[in-house]
Amino acid sequence: MYFYAAPKSTPAPTSLDEVDPELLAMYDKLGIPLKEREILAGVERPNVAVDAVMDSVSVVTTFREELAKVGIIFCSISEAIREHAELVQKYLGSVVPVTDNYYATLNSAVFTDGSFVYIPKGVRCPMELSTYFRINEKKTGQFERTLIIAEDDSYVSYLEGCTAPMRDESQLHAAVVELVALENAEIKYSTVQNWYPGDKDGKGGIYNFVTKRGDCRGDNSKISWTQVETGSAITWKYPSCILRGDNSRGEFYSIAISNGYQQVDSGTKMIHLGKNTSSRIIAKGIAAGFSDNTYRGQVSAHAKAKGARNFTQCDSLLIGDKCGAHTVPYIESRNATAVFEHEATTSKISDDQMFYCQQRGLDGEAAVALIVNGFVRDVLQHLPMEFMVESQKLIAISLEGSVG
């Protein structure tokens, strides 16, 4: 396996016209071509800036000038290392240390590119920032690295989308994402992941081992993770929040769908360190086919985390009887004033619901898609508008073949 394979020879395109049509076709299939985003975004001007990372080399960066006017830096991490060394030095590896875990270490050793975002004090980022990751070279691993820093009183919403064309062999994706929110800052990080899951017999597909962690370093800061995970053969992913600042808040909203022979093991960690910190977890797992879908979550309160609060809700939905759903919560409280609530449900799509929908004219697949979209509604609502529409379609696509 090659750790790093840059897209061959072609110079970086200077405009979207020069981008691989396959990448654009992928946007199209998902119903969010850049053009449509522009339309969605409003009449006057588009409000999504895109940094597309293909095989870990940033190929398109748009809207940078406009962002620069308010002091926002949005660029590839390789450029940030050259141009903004002091920021990178101060923050890179400060949330996810090099020695954190095997895949984070691997990433730290070989990471090739990724995105860098810096929001200065008091600035509300005027547009959604977006990165599209895509794996297309054969036998490559993708090791991108993302670092987002929100200074005091700032706000940013960041969207990450992932796609990969079909390949027989398995590929590794071992990304690291670090978020730092300082006083009163808020970071909203949304992911829609549909890496290639392998074929119907479980051959090929992406191994998605990602380390994502946010540090609510300042008082009253907030970090919110929202994810829609439908792809990859194997996913291990636990976007986490370290609630260090007093009154800081962490959120995790997740939809994880597994079909075929996919294995998803995902969840979050909410580490309450500061006083009156709060966290909220809503995880919706949908398992179909022969897949396994596990929610694994940890909520812990440090001795100093007076008044820490957590609410966790994990709902699993099973389609068919050859798949499995599991919930593995770890709860740890070293402070008597902490209040943690955990609710979990497991259900199946009932024959009565299917029949009712079919009686109204929906075929089996459309009925499943509708019922599943209803099941995940609480989470979908936390996605930015343009991702919501895309996600609904993606959910329908990824459950194709799950009934019948």
């Binding site: 009932s350 024959d351 009565d352 619901q353 029949f355 009712y356 929908c357 079919q358 009686q359 109204r360 004219g361 929906l362 075929d363 089996g364 459309a366 509708l370 019922i371 979209n373 209803g374 099941f375 995940v376 509604r377 609480d378």
Partner: protein
């Protein structure tokens, strides 16, 4: 002569080892409304499920034609697109799916399978608003997840709303009057009467003659032990109300 909209011939159906429909014969010409009355457990809902294609039942004998086409060969969604609608005795909850979203999905699914294009949002909104007004269904109810936490009466009104929007040629209403208060009964009756046309037929299952004062049937059938044992005009319903079903219990064969 034109086909009857619904033609049921000697229909037998069983669930596991138990025969529930034991030779149903029924023909409903276009534009007619037939009422079916019968004891609890006599098989009325089973008949409606079998017609709609619920797969718990095994059909052992007989045939059913919808406007001349073999109904039993079709999937449930194909039957719906062909114009068969069932207002459920116990409407099913669809959590997280707003009534509005559900209506749109159903209408577009049927249009698609008939080869028609998607309904535009303004046309859809107009149709829903209009049909909703007749049934006293307001915007807030349309935003709620379908049937979740709906009162008994709201569920039944939502069923009739779907019927109005899907414009079927054959409507089966299974106890759509049960659980309705006096005012709601009038509202629903008005809604149903508004949908009666020369092309559309209806089969109304009910326990109460009261409903038939508002929705006047062309024919009344008495259902007993899995088959129709008596048919007559609307006075038959009055007779049942007065004397009960004892006269119609099927004699031992």
């Amino acid at each position: 002569m034109a086909n009857p909209i619904l033609e049921i011939r000697n229909l037998h159906a069983r669930i596991e080892d138990r025969e529930i429909l034991k030779g149903v014969n029924l023909s409903i010409p276009a534009g007619e409304l037939h009422a079916v009355m019968g004891r609890n457990g006599s098989g009325k809902s089973t008949l409606s499920y079998v017609l709609a294609g619920k797969d718990d039942y095994e059909i052992t004998e007989g045939e059913v034609l919808l406007d001349g086409v073999d109904l039993l060969a079709m999937e449930p969604d194909e039957r719906a697109a062909a114009g068969l609608f069932l207002a459920f005795q116990y409407p099913i909850e669809i959590p997280g799916v707003s009534t509005m979203t559900f209506l749109k999905a159903a209408m577009n699914a049927q249009r698609k399978s008939r080869g028609e294009g998607e309904l535009s949002t303004p046309d859809f909104m107009r149709a829903v608003k209009e049909a909703g007004a007749t049934l006293n269904i307001d915007a807030s109810m349309l935003k709620r997840p379908l049937n979740v936490g709906f009162s008994g009466g709201e569920k039944k009104r939502a069923e009739v709303l779907q019927m109005a929007l899907l414009a079927p040629k054959m409507c089966i209403l299974d106890e759509t009057d049960s659980g309705l208060d006096i005012d709601a009964l009038q509202v629903v009756a008005k809604g149903v009467n508004g949908l009666r046309t020369a092309q559309r037929s209806m089969l109304v299952i009910t326990h109460y003659q009261r409903l038939l004062n508002h929705i006047v049937p062309d024919v009344v059938h008495v259902f007993s032990d899995g088959r129709i044992v008596e048919s007559g005009d609307k006075s038959l319903a009055l007779q049942l109300e007065a004397k009960g079903y004892a006269d119609f219990d099927s004699e031992p064969a």
